[in-house]
Each structure stands twice: as C-alpha cells, then as structure tokens.
C-alpha cells in the first residue's frame, strides 16, 4: 500500500478512516459473521452433541457425546455406516467422471469457438453458455422428461433399434452391466466378503448407476459453458507469436496443442479442476428435485444424506458430522490435486531446452 499517501495525511485522518472503514464493512461483516461463521461453529458443536432438533442446541439438556456421531458413520457398521459408504461411493463415481469430462468438453468448446476466424462464434458461445445460466431445478425437470422411459433420448435410441433403459429408475451400475455383457455376472468371493464402510468392494466397483449417468450427463451439460468462458479468456492471453513460432518450426497441430497451448493453460486448468472438484462433491439440487436419492439409494450423495439425516430423520449430530467429513474430503481432494499438478510441471520443464526460447517464459 502507498506509504507516501499515509505519511502525507494527518493522524486524525487516519482514525477517521478507521472508523469509516469499519462502518463501511460492518453490514457485510455482520451478515457473513452471523450467517456463516457463527453457524459453522454451532454446527461443529452439534456434530459432537446429541441434540435432537428440539429447543436450542445450546440448551443445558444437550450433552457432549464426543466422536460418537463420526464413529457411527465411519466405523459403526450398521445401516448408518452403509448409507454413508454408499453415498461416498455414488459421489466418487460422479466426481471421477464429471470433473475430467467437463474439463475436456469445456476446453474443446473453447478451442472451437475461441478463434477470431470463426463466424458466428458469439452465437455458438451463447448456445453453449445458456444452460449454465438457468436454474438447476428447471434443467432437472427438463432432463426428467428427456430421460423418461418414453422420453426423447429413448425415442432417439429406438431409431437405432436400441431399447433404452428406464433411466431414472435403473439402479444397476454401468460397470456391472458391462461385465454382465461379457458373461461375468457374479463377483469373485474376494470382492464380496471384504469392503469399506459397510459396502462390499464389488458394490464400490459397480460404477455409477444408470440413474446417476443421467445426472452426470446433466452436470456436464450445465457446467461446460461456464468453464468454456474461462478457457476462452486464457486462450486469448496466449501470445500469437508462440504458436506462429511453433508453426515455423514445423510443429504439427497436435504438437502445438500439447507442447505450446496446454502448458500455457495450466493455471486455468488448475482453476477449472479445483472448481469442478468443489462443485461435484456438493451435488444436491439435482438429487432433491430429480431422484430423492433413488433408485435403491444409488444417487444418494453425502450432501443429500446430510440434509435427510438432519431435516428428515432428526439425527442432527449425524447430519452435521457428514457435512464436516465432506468438508474434509473437499479440502483433501483440492490439496491432492495441487500436489499432482505441481509434480507434473517438473516434467515439461526438463524438456524445455528442446523448445523455442520464448516458451521458457514463466506463465
């Protein structure tokens, strides 16, 4: 901050600014403090208490139960653990499929419409971005219709003589379906006896259910537009000379993409994947509107389970504990991603002296 301007002003000015500064930020701080900071602390308390939803969680008759709620979820072995394990399994498949796919799709869209030479690129951008603007509730209603048993998707499939599934009511995992197609329809004993969080390995490996596949499709449809805009902006910041230099050197378009464009996009790639991870681990609206966690709990996610455990079954401690475990998962995944992407940066750097000098410029 400019020191000179501070010195030139008197100390009375300084204290006047302090008063005004706090006054100006007060409304925002009070709102955020009241509805964000205090609530998180309160929920932290609820997650280690036996509050049953009646009266205040801070009242005297609510007692501290330590890690009981967390234990019930993680090591209890009962229905609670199994439901939580199932929700993690479901959401993990969702994350593993949505994050890479939405990144690739949005980057592809950006590469296609990012160039100035494309006619009507504004129109295309609008078409791709529009789904991101509309509410998840409205989109879910549309997808419920498109993927209904007599819906547009199955109608399209019928032209190819394929009988489409009853999408939103089919709990079968797609990997299990694929394995059954190859004649494997029962699990080896090793996979059915062992497991994690009350869910057998065989079930962990079932793949997303057919119902979940529709939610995955919907997620890619609605988020790729936003991320496309981020990639377009990043592409426009890459100096044209870089690509020209590579062209002069006789690099193929494939080489230009992987050795010139992609390394320059790393910061944006990082942002998109981070936002993707944070968003996909919190999927809630689509479940609430579309599936209620069904069929056979294959679309229950931790966020939705946290909501139903608290507001539905009045097991507030458990619901709050799920929220905090989810928080920990998101933080872990974000850090993990940071580490993985950082390690990768060392590989191209070693190769760099083989490439044009321009490119060594830190991005």
């Amino acid at each position: 901050m400019p020191v000179a301007s501070q010195r030139s002003r008197g100390s009375s000015m300084r204290s006047r600014e302090t008063a005004a500064g706090w006054l100006f930020t007060a409304p925002a701080l009070i709102i955020l403090g009241l509805f964000l900071v205090i609530p998180v602390l309160m929920a932290l308390w609820v997650s280690v208490s036996d509050w049953d939803g009646r009266g205040s969680p801070l009242a005297g008759d609510v007692s501290f139960v330590g890690a009981d709620n967390y234990e019930a979820l993680l090591t209890g072995g009962g229905l609670t653990t199994r439901d939580f394990g199932t929700s993690l399994r479901n959401n993990l498949w969702y994350v593993v499929l949505v994050v890479p796919l939405q990144t690739v799709v949005s980057l592809t869209l950006a590469m296609l419409v990012g160039r100035r030479a494309i006619r009507g690129r504004g129109l295309f951008r609008t078409a791709f971005y529009f789904p991101s603007v509309t509410s998840s509730v409205a989109i879910t209603v549309v997808f419920l219709f498109l993927f209904s048993s007599t819906g547009a998707v199955n109608k399209l499939l019928s032209f190819l003589s394929i009988e489409g599934p009853n999408w939103f009511n089919d709990p079968r995992g797609v990997l299990h379906i694929a394995l059954a197609g190859m004649g494997v329809d029962s699990a080896p004993a090793a996979l059915t006896t062992g497991g994690l969080l009350g869910v057998t390995w065989w079930e962990w490996l079932a793949g997303p259910s057919v119902a979940m596949v529709t939610l995955i499709t919907m997620a890619i449809f609605t988020t790729s537009g936003t991320f496309m805009l981020l990639f377009i902006a990043a592409l426009q910041n890459i100096p044209a000379e870089l690509e020209e230099a590579a062209m002069v050197d006789g690099a193929t378009s494939r080489q230009r993409f992987f050795r010139v464009t992609l390394p320059q996009l790393r910061p944006t790639l990082f942002t998109v994947i981070t936002l993707g991870l944070i968003g996909t681990w919190q999927v809630f609206d689509q479940i609430y509107v579309g599936t209620d966690g069904g069929p056979a709990k294959t679309t229950v996610t931790p966020a939705y389970l946290s909501y139903t455990a608290s507001f539905g079954s009045q097991r507030w401690g458990e619901g709050a504990a799920i929220a905090f475990i989810l928080f920990a998962i998101i933080v872990t995944f974000t850090i993990l991603q940071r580490v993985v992407l950082r390690e990768r940066t060392t590989v191209p750097r070693r190769k760099r002296f083989l490439q044009p000098v321009d490119e060594r410029r830190p991005s």
């Binding site: 302090t18 925002a28 494309i118 129109l123 709050a320």
Partner: protein, 275 residues
Amino acid sequence: MTWGTAFRYALLVSIAVVYVFPFLIQIASSFKTDAEAAQNPLSLVPNPVTGAAYEFLFTSPQSDFPTWTMNSVVVTLAVTAGRVFFNSLAGYALARLEFRGRGAVFAGLVAVMAVPGVVLLIPKFLVVNQLGIYNSYAGMVLPLLADAAGIFIMKNFFESIPRSVEEAAKIDGAGLFRTYWSIVLPMARPALITLVILSFQGSWNELAHFIVVTSDPDLAVLTKGVASLASGAISQGTQYPLKLAAAFLMTIPVAVLFFVFQRQIMSTTEGAVKE
C-alpha cells in the same frame, strides 16, 4: 473453405444442436397434451397446440404458481439491492480506506469464501431458527445480503479507478460516504451491472437455502415450488407439459437478463481471469 474448416463448422453446429435441443423440446412439449408429450417427445411442433398447462399454472385455484413467482420476485429484488449496496460499500472500504484492521477483514473474507456451501445447510437453519426468523422473509433474505465474492469484485474494480478522481472531491470537503456514493459508485457501473446479474441469477436460482429456512408453503419460491411439482405434488400421472411449462416460465427472467447483458457477462468472466 477447406475440409478442415468445413469439418470444424459441422462439429460446432452439431454440438450447438445438442445444447439447444433440450430447451426447444421443453418449450414445444409445454404446449402439448399429456398424451402427445409421451407419444412424440421429439417433435418440435405440438399437435394439437394447447395452452392448458399455462392456463392451469396461472388460473387454477389448485396452482400456487402465482404465489411462488411473487415470493421469488420479492426475495430476488431485495437480495439484489442489498448485495449491490453492502458489497460495494465494503469493497470500497477495502480498496480505498486505509483503516486499522483492514488486513484482518480481508483475511476473514478469504477464509469465508473457502467454506463449501453444503457445510452451511444445517448451520444456517440453526442460526435462523435461533434468531426467530425461521419461516419469514427476513430469514430468506438476510443471510443472502452479502457475499465475499461480490465484495472482491467491487474491491478489484474500485482499485482500477484512479485516485485523483476522489482527491478533488476530498479537497472540496466531501465526506467519505459522500465521495463513495456520488463520485465513485456512478463510475463503477460495469462492476455494479456484473453484481446485479450475479446476485439476481444466484438468488433466483437458489434452492438449498430456501428449503432449509422455510417450510411454510406460502413462502415457497419458484425453485422450491417447481421442485415439489417435479416430484408430483399435484400431479396425477406424469403431467410433463405442466412441469415443463413451469420450468420454462421460471427460466424467462434469467434468460432475459442473460440476453440483455450478454456482452457484459462474457467479458466480465474473461476479465476475472486476466487478473
């Protein structure tokens, strides 16, 4: 035109069709009869054309659609107005006023931004309930009145305005609030428009917050109402035209905002990354 560009356009057009088609089907099907929506889900021309779904939504005594719409409008306008004012006020202080504790405020806001929304579902209910504003407009609006991301947008913009503009006002003896209100704020139009779009879109499309802080059907907003419609609250059979019509209607305000300020939206997002 080379084969390469021809291929590129063909690809673009086919992807665009995939992105636009669901919305076209949605609009067309909302004018179909139930039977036809099930029989010809792909056709874009309703035959016969019927406005029954819309008529039901607006005029049937069984329909709460007008209530939902009114609640959405009230809440969204209040949230948008509040956010634009409080965020810009705080953004101005962080950008321009050198006050003691500014670093702490800044750090606090960054920390707040890192908390995932889902963790806040239960907490929000707890506090809203404790404050006695559960099932009230206050409970719906107050928690949404400020957001850290909006404050940062305003702060960044104010920092890009040259200081000399305010110096003149200060010399003329204008107070800090006056300088903010009548000098700096009018200059921040582009940032304010961005904030209006984001706040409007955010609160109009918000679902989880309203599920958690209200249970009274009279306070249901469109997202909550249409969600209950989707799960078949008043429906016998599938009633897809009805659900699609409701979903279409709730999309109109954000769509209008989007098309009016399209250029602004596209360039803002681009600007945000250039930082």
